[in-house]
Amino acid sequence: MRRLAVIFAAASSLALFACSDDSDSDTTTTEASSEAGAGNECTAGKTLEDGVLTIATGTPAYSPWVIDDAPESKEGFEAAVAYAVAEELGFSDANVKWVRTSFDEAIQPGAKNFDFNLQQYSITDERKETVSFSDPYYTTNQAMVGLEGSAAAGVGTLADLKSIKFGAQSGTTSLDFITEVIQPDTEPYVYDDNAAAKAALEAGQVDAIVVDLPTAFYIAAVEIEGASVVGQFAADLSGQADEFGLVFDLENPLVDCVNTALATLKDDGTLAEIESTWLNETGAPVISE
């Protein structure tokens, strides 16, 4: 038995070293991609696959970020942003490849299977320790969704919210916002996804759930009957607005190319245009100090 174990250990370490050789040879391919639609000078040799931009999003991807879970259609805010960035980097639509990852897969320590990942990742200092972020492509506020006639309806100030029972999705900046800014009297309830939060809202276990503003509008309009966006929180409450960034493998050199592209898209108004096409952000009362 012991001999078997030794052989296994030897074999597995050989296999692992073999893998590391592979990854070395991957990164040394730096042929200039001169073909049209296969990237610009900046991206040459920096993408996972030469001449192809591999973009990741959630599994599934939710509206209004990606409509019908089909990013290839360019429908939805993040799908549109991804294609705009790709175009700016010189990649034709045909050379954009989509992959899917969960939140965890994007931050795991191993090699990444995407060039960048977008699924409403908020930029935080803690996360910058393990992944790299682009400059923000969207800035939003936190907002509160409640059922009509619940204790959360009609509140105007932060002080009114102390006695409210909150719910939020695990691992979101919305949850941080509840515990750090609102600081309600009772601990919030936390869920894996909006489906569970919705069930809790309907069961009366929570008075309101906190999500980013575009998601709030979507939930209130489409997902939960009788729910409304009770209010959005002024950006200065938490000291900073919620900023979404593209996620890269740590210290990926592609970040600079993408930041240049994002700056151009901001300056020429493309980003604002995409925003007004896909995101509804009007009409929520503002909750302040």
Partner: protein
């Protein structure tokens, strides 16, 4: 093999990244106190669930072992209860009872996910434990009952004073096994809202983009489950010494 791994793993090309993600001392230091706080909820749920589980399980086991023809409907009920509850994943019961029952229109505090999540755990674990008790009861030889009845004990007295004391003693090890399993399944209650240790670890995982909090949670779990399993071993050993007197090695 362990030594080979200890030497080989840090030489791997991305070990630094793995270390940073899973064994980050700074993150551990920052999250561990919160994990301990959250673990108090796990222990509470465990402690208030166990007595009720044992009570229901015993009731079901004795019912299934009853022999009076008049109790036939009760026996059928017990069989159906065990088959249905045990055959469906705990996860579904937690969602169904935890969201479903309060959704019928109960008011706070009676719609608490903590309450109904615990009810779901109790109802499923009672079926596992009742099967353990039933196995114990059936392992007591028929001659014991015959002897008790011939001494003039009633059916109920026979069960209470002769069968159950022997049965329960025999099934303590598998019983402890279920308890260890329950200790871990308590975490499922977090799916319907309450923040217990695994949920807290999940929150911190996202916050720090690091899996270290899960390692912290694992350490806390082991600190409870290892003593529990060692106690089981010790009980088993004591039982063997008490009953057989000899030991073949």
């Amino acid at each position: 093999m362990a030594i080979a791994l200890i030497i080989a793993i840090p030489k791997m090309p991305r070990w630094d990244r793995v270390k940073k993600s899973f064994f980050n001392g700074e993150v551990l230091g920052e999250t561990f106190p919160k994990l301990l706080d959250a673990f108090v909820l796990d222990i509470k749920i465990f402690l208030w669930s166990v007595p009720i589980i044992l009570f229901i399980a015993m009731l079901v086991a004795v019912t299934r072992n009853s022999r009076s023809p008049a109790l036939f409907p009760l026996r059928i009920l017990a069989v159906v209860y065990v088959d249905v509850m045990r055959g469906v994943p705990v996860l579904l019961w937690i969602y169904l009872i935890g969201f479903g029952v309060p959704g019928l229109g109960l008011e706070r505090p009676w719609n608490s996910p903590l309450l109904w999540g615990s009810v779901a755990l109790v109802l499923t674990y009672a079926t596992y434990v009742s099967e353990v008790f039933r196995a114990g009861i059936e392992s007591v030889h028929e001659s014991q009952r015959a002897a008790a009845r011939s001494l003039g004990l009633s059916n109920a007295q026979t069960m209470r004073h002769v069968v159950l004391p022997q049965a329960v003693r025999r099934v303590i090890p598998p019983l402890m096994n279920d308890m260890v399993s329950l200790q871990k399944d308590v975490a499922l209650v977090s799916l319907i809202g309450p923040i217990e240790i695994l949920r807290q670890a999940g929150i911190d995982k996202s916050k720090f983009a690091s899996f270290t909090p899960y390692v912290g949670a694992a350490i806390i779990f082991l600190a409870i489950t290892i003593p529990m399993t060692r106690t089981t071993d010790w009980l088993l050993e004591r039982e063997r010494r008490r009953t057989s007197g000899t030991r073949v090695s």
